[in-house]
C-alpha cells in the first residue's frame, strides 16, 4: 500500500463491508497514483489525454474513502445495493456518491445551529459547512498542536509549512477552492470540451499543476482527517505526519 493509500484509507482492520471497500479503494488509489507520478519529462499526446482521467480518479476515490471513514452509512448502503444482484451496469445508481451533495455542498449555510432545522436540511457533504465546523476545524487544531509539541527545529516539506500557515477557518474554503478548480479542469479533459489543440490547454506545466494540486488536496484532507477523534481506522499522529512528509519528497 502506498503512503497516499494508507493516509487516505487508514489502518484498515477487520473483514466487514467498510473494511473491504476501503481495501479496494486503497488498491485503486495505489495504482492511479503510481501511474500519475511516473516521471515523464515531456508528455506525449496520449499522456496528455490520460492525465486528466487519473487526476479525476484520484480525487473521486480519495473523497469516497474519506466519506466512508467519516460517515460509513453512505458506503455501507451502497455496498448493500450492489450486493442485491441487480444489473447495475446499464443504469445510474440513484444513491451513488455525488460530487455535488456528497463532496461539495450547495449554497453556504447561514445559521448552522438553528434549532428549527431538521436533520435532513443539514448537509453532510465532506467539505460542507457542518463538517467544517464539527470535524475539520477541531482535527486541524489537533494536528497543529501535535506539530507544535514536536519542537521547532524540524524541517518540514512545503505542504506542511503551508498547512501550518493556514487559518483554521480558512482550511475548508481552501480545500473547496482547489477541489472545485482541479476537478473541473480535469473533467474538461474527460469530456473533451476544449476547442483549441490539446497541447495548448494541457501543456506540461498545466498537467504538472493539476497533478500536484490533486495530490496536495487528497493528502491534506487525509492527514487532517486522521486527527479527527471519531474517524474510522485512524492512523497515529506520528504515522500520519510521516506518510504526509514522505509524499512531499
Amino acid at each position: 500500500m502506498s503512503n497516499l493509500s494508507e493516509l487516505v484509507c487508514g489502518n484498515v482492520k477487520g473483514s466487514g463491508n467498510l473494511a473491504r471497500s476501503l481495501r479496494h479503494f486503497a488498491q485503486t488509489l495505489t495504482l492511479l497514483e503510481r501511474h500519475l507520478r511516473r516521471g515523464v519529462p515531456k508528455r506525449r499526446p496520449l499522456e496528455r489525454l490520460v492525465c486528466p482521467f487519473l487526476v479525476r480518479g484520484i480525487i473521486e476515490v480519495a473523497c469516497t474513502s474519506l466519506i466512508g471513514r467519516r460517515d460509513p452509512f453512505r458506503i455501507l448502503t451502497l455496498a448493500e445495493i450492489q450486493s442485491q444482484g441487480h444489473d447495475l451496469s446499464s443504469g445510474r445508481v440513484a444513491a451513488a456518491i455525488q460530487w455535488t451533495g456528497d463532496v461539495l455542498a450547495g449554497a453556504r449555510v447561514r445559521n448552522l445551529w438553528d434549532s428549527t432545522k431538521n436533520a435532513g436540511d443539514m448537509t453532510r457533504a465532506l467539505l460542507g459547512d457542518y463538517q467544517d465546523h464539527i470535524f475539520w476545524q477541531p482535527a486541524f487544531l489537533r494536528l497543529s498542536d501535535h506539530l507544535a509539541s514536536s519542537g521547532g527545529t524540524l524541517t518540514y516539506g512545503d505542504w506542511t509549512r503551508r498547512l501550518l500557515n493556514t487559518d483554521p477557518q480558512g482550511l475548508v474554503p481552501q480545500l473547496r477552492g482547489i477541489a472545485s478548480e482541479t476537478y473541473s479542469a480535469a473533467s474538461k479533459g474527460v469530456h473533451h470540451e476544449f476547442v483549441l489543440s490539446m497541447a495548448a490547454y494541457y501543456d506540461d506545466a498545466t498537467l504538472e499543476k493539476l497533478t500536484e494540486d490533486a495530490l496536495w488536496l487528497v493528502a491534506t484532507m487525509a492527514v487532517v482527517a486522521n486527527f479527527d477523534e471519531s474517524i474510522a481506522f485512524a492512523l497515529t499522529p506520528s504515522r500520519s505526519m510521516k506518510c504526509y512528509e514522505e509524499l512531499q519528497r
Binding site: 487544531l141 497543529s144 498542536d145 507544535a148 521547532g152 527545529t153 524540524l154 524541517t155 518540514y156 516539506g157 512545503d158 509549512r161 503551508r162 501550518l164 500557515n165 493556514t166 487559518d167 483554521p168 480558512g170 474554503p173 481552501q174 473547496r176 477552492g177 482547489i178 472545485s180 478548480e181 479542469a185 474538461k188 476544449f194 483549441l196 489543440s197 497541447a199 495548448a200 490547454y201 501543456d203 506545466a205 498545466t206 504538472e208 499543476k209 493539476l210 500536484e212 494540486d213
Partner: protein, 497 residues
C-alpha cells in the same frame, strides 16, 4: 579579484528584478526547487495570486515565468505577458475610470510585448475589448495566454483593488489565465471576487524550516558576490554565513542583498569576517535599513499613515519581549493581532516579522499566530548587542522556544488602536524631489545637481517627476537615457516598493 569586485559592485546595485537588464536576468537570479515549482504554476492554466512581502522575490518569479513562455521563448505552447501596473493614475482611480485606465495601460503593454511578433493587438478601452483582443490572440496563435500582473496591490490603496479583482475574474477563461502579485495583508477583494474560488493563492515565503533554504542563499551569494569566499571568513564557512544571513532577514531576498552589500562594503580587502564583524553588520542593518523602512513606507500608506507609529511601538514590544531569551519567534494572542491588524501587516510588509504558524496554542491559554522576528533588530535589544558563537549556533539551529504575548498581559495596554484617516491621499506624491536624494533608503537616488536641475525645470514634487513625460525630462541639461532610467527607477521605488 578586480573582476570579482567589479562584478560584485555592478550586481549589488540591482535590488529589484524589474530594474534588472534582461541580458543579466538569468545570471543573477537563482531559484530553489520550491521557486521553480511556483514558476511552473505561473505558467500553468488557472488563476493564481502570488503572495509575498516586500522584497520577497515576487517580481523575479513573474518575470522568470514570462521568460519561459512566448514571445521570449517562442517554441512554448503558451504566450506569457508580464505587465507591471506601476502607473500612478491607477492608484487614484476607481470604478469605471479605473477600468478604462487599466485596459488602456495593459493594452499598450501587450502591444509592446508583441512588437517583434507576427501578432497585432488592438487598442483597448474596456474589459470587453481587452478580453476579445486576448481571445483572438489565443485563437490566432493556437496558444494559451497568461497575463502576469505585477504591483497590482499597493499597501496604501484599497479602493481600487475591488475593481482590479473584478477585471481579473472577468478576463479569466479557458484560454486566458491571470496571475497577480499581492501582499500578505491584502484582504479587500471586492464583492464579486472570492479569493478561494476564483484563484489559487501561492505563498512566496521562504523559511529555514523549508528544504533547500540554505542552498538557495548560498547559490545567490556565490553568483552575486564572488568576492565573498571561505578565505574571507573565520569561525564558520560561507555556506553557514549564507544560511545565517537568510535566516536573519527572514528569507527576504531584498534584505539578503542589503545584508551582503553591507558586509562587502565594510570589509577591507585584508580583513576577514568573523562573529564580531557579522554582528556589527546586523546592527547597521537594523539602524540604517529596517527602522528607516518604516519612515519610507509611511508616505505611501494613504489613510493608514497613523498605523506606522503604532507598528513601531509594537515592534519595540516584540523585540524587547524576545531579547531576554534571544527567542527567534513569538506567539501573540489572536485577539491582539486582530485588534492591531494594519500595524502587523506593515511590520510583515517591511520584513520585521514573518508569520510562520497561523494558530498555535499558547501555554497561557488561547491561540494565536507565531511570527519569526528579524534577527538584526533582535540583536539590537539583546543586552550587550554582541553576536557570539553561541548565539550564532543557537539561531542557526532554531533551538529557542517562542515567547508568548497574551491578551491579558499589559504589553499593549499603552498602545492605542490606530484609526484610518478620512480620505487620506498618498503623501509620497506631494513630497519634494529632495526626498529622493541618494541615501541608504534610495541607493538609486539623485545627486544634488540633478535635484537642482529638476527644480529649475519646474519639477518640484515626486508626483511631478512621475507625471513628467520622457520628452520633458530629456530636455533637461545632461539628461539622456541613463538618467531617464535613473529617474524612473527611483520614483518607482518611492511610490511602489
Amino acid at each position: 579579484m578586480t573582476t570579482d569586485l567589479q562584478r560584485t559592485d555592478e550586481v549589488s546595485l540591482i535590488l529589484a528584478a524589474e530594474e534588472c537588464p534582461p541580458d543579466q536576468f538569468d545570471a543573477i537570479h537563482k531559484f530553489s526547487q520550491h521557486d521553480k515549482r511556483i514558476i511552473r504554476k505561473l505558467i500553468a492554466h488557472g488563476p493564481v495570486l502570488l503572495q509575498g512581502g516586500r522584497g520577497s522575490g515576487k517580481s523575479a518569479l513573474l518575470i522568470a515565468a514570462s521568460r519561459e513562455m512566448a514571445p521570449h521563448n517562442s517554441p512554448s505552447d503558451v504566450i506569457g505577458l508580464y505587465v507591471s501596473l506601476r502607473y500612478v493614475p491607477l492608484l487614484q482611480a476607481t470604478g469605471s475610470d479605473y477600468e478604462k485606465l487599466f485596459c488602456q495601460w495593459v493594452g499598450q503593454r501587450i502591444q509592446r510585448a508583441l512588437a517583434n511578433t507576427p501578432h497585432d493587438f488592438p487598442d483597448s478601452h474596456d474589459v470587453r475589448q481587452l478580453k476579445n483582443g486576448l481571445s483572438e490572440l489565443s485563437m490566432e496563435a493556437d496558444k494559451r495566454v497568461v497575463l502576469l500582473f505585477d504591483d497590482a496591490a499597493h499597501i496604501g490603496r484599497e479602493t481600487s483593488l475591488g475593481s482590479f479583482f473584478d477585471i481579473f475574474r472577468t478576463l479569466s477563461s479557458e484560454a486566458i489565465s491571470c496571475k497577480a502579485a499581492i501582499y500578505p495583508g491584502v484582504t479587500e477583494f471586492g464583492t464579486r471576487f472570492d479569493v478561494y474560488n476564483d484563484a489559487s493563492v501561492v505563498d512566496v515565503v521562504r523559511s529555514p524550516e523549508q528544504a533547500g533554504f540554505s542552498e538557495l542563499f548560498y547559490d545567490i551569494m556565490q553568483s552575486r558576490y564572488p568576492v565573498l569566499t571561505d578565505k574571507k571568513i573565520t569561525g564558520f564557512d560561507l555556506r553557514k554565513l549564507a544560511q545565517f544571513l537568510g535566516t536573519t532577514v527572514l528569507g527576504n531576498m531584498r534584505g539578503f542583498i542589503f545584508a551582503c552589500n553591507d558586509l562587502v562594503e565594510h570589509t577591507e580587502s585584508n580583513q576577514t569576517i568573523g562573529y564580531t564583524a557579522l554582528g556589527e553588520s546586523l546592527l547597521r542593518l537594523a539602524a540604517d535599513y529596517y527602522w528607516p523602512l518604516l519612515e519610507e513606507v509611511k508616505p505611501k500608506l494613504g489613510r493608514y499613515v497613523p498605523a506606522v507609529e503604532v507598528a513601531q511601538d509594537i515592534a519595540e514590544v516584540i523585540f524587547s519581549s524576545c531579547a531576554p531569551t534571544s527567542a527567534q519567534s513569538i506567539s501573540i494572542h489572536r485577539t491582539l493581532v486582530a485588534r492591531y491588524a494594519k500595524p502587523f501587516e506593515i511590520l510583515e510588509y517591511a520584513g520585521f516579522i514573518a508569520r510562520r504558524e497561523a494558530s498555535r496554542s499558547l501555554r497561557s491559554g488561547g491561540r494565536g499566530p507565531r511570527f519569526a522576528v528579524n534577527l538584526c533588530n533582535l540583536l539590537e535589544r539583546i543586552p550587550g548587542s554582541r553576536l557570539t558563537a553561541r548565539l550564532f549556533d543557537e539561531w542557526l539551529s532554531r533551538s529557542s522556544q517562542p515567547v508568548e504575548l497574551h491578551e491579558r498581559g499589559d504589553h499593549f495596554s499603552a498602545i492605542d488602536v490606530p484609526q484610518p484617516l478620512e480620505g487620506g491621499d498618498l503623501e509620497i506624491l506631494h513630497k519634494p524631489v529632495e526626498t529622493l536624494r541618494k541615501s541608504k533608503a534610495y541607493p538609486y537616488g539623485l545627486t544634488e545637481l540633478k535635484i537642482a536641475l529638476l527644480n529649475d525645470a519646474g519639477i518640484r514634487t515626486i508626483g511631478d517627476l512621475d507625471a513628467a513625460s520622457d520628452e520633458t525630462l530629456r530636455k533637461i541639461d545632461g539628461v539622456g537615457n541613463v538618467f531617464l532610467d535613473r529617474f524612473r527607477s527611483v520614483v518607482a521605488q518611492a511610490i511602489w516598493m
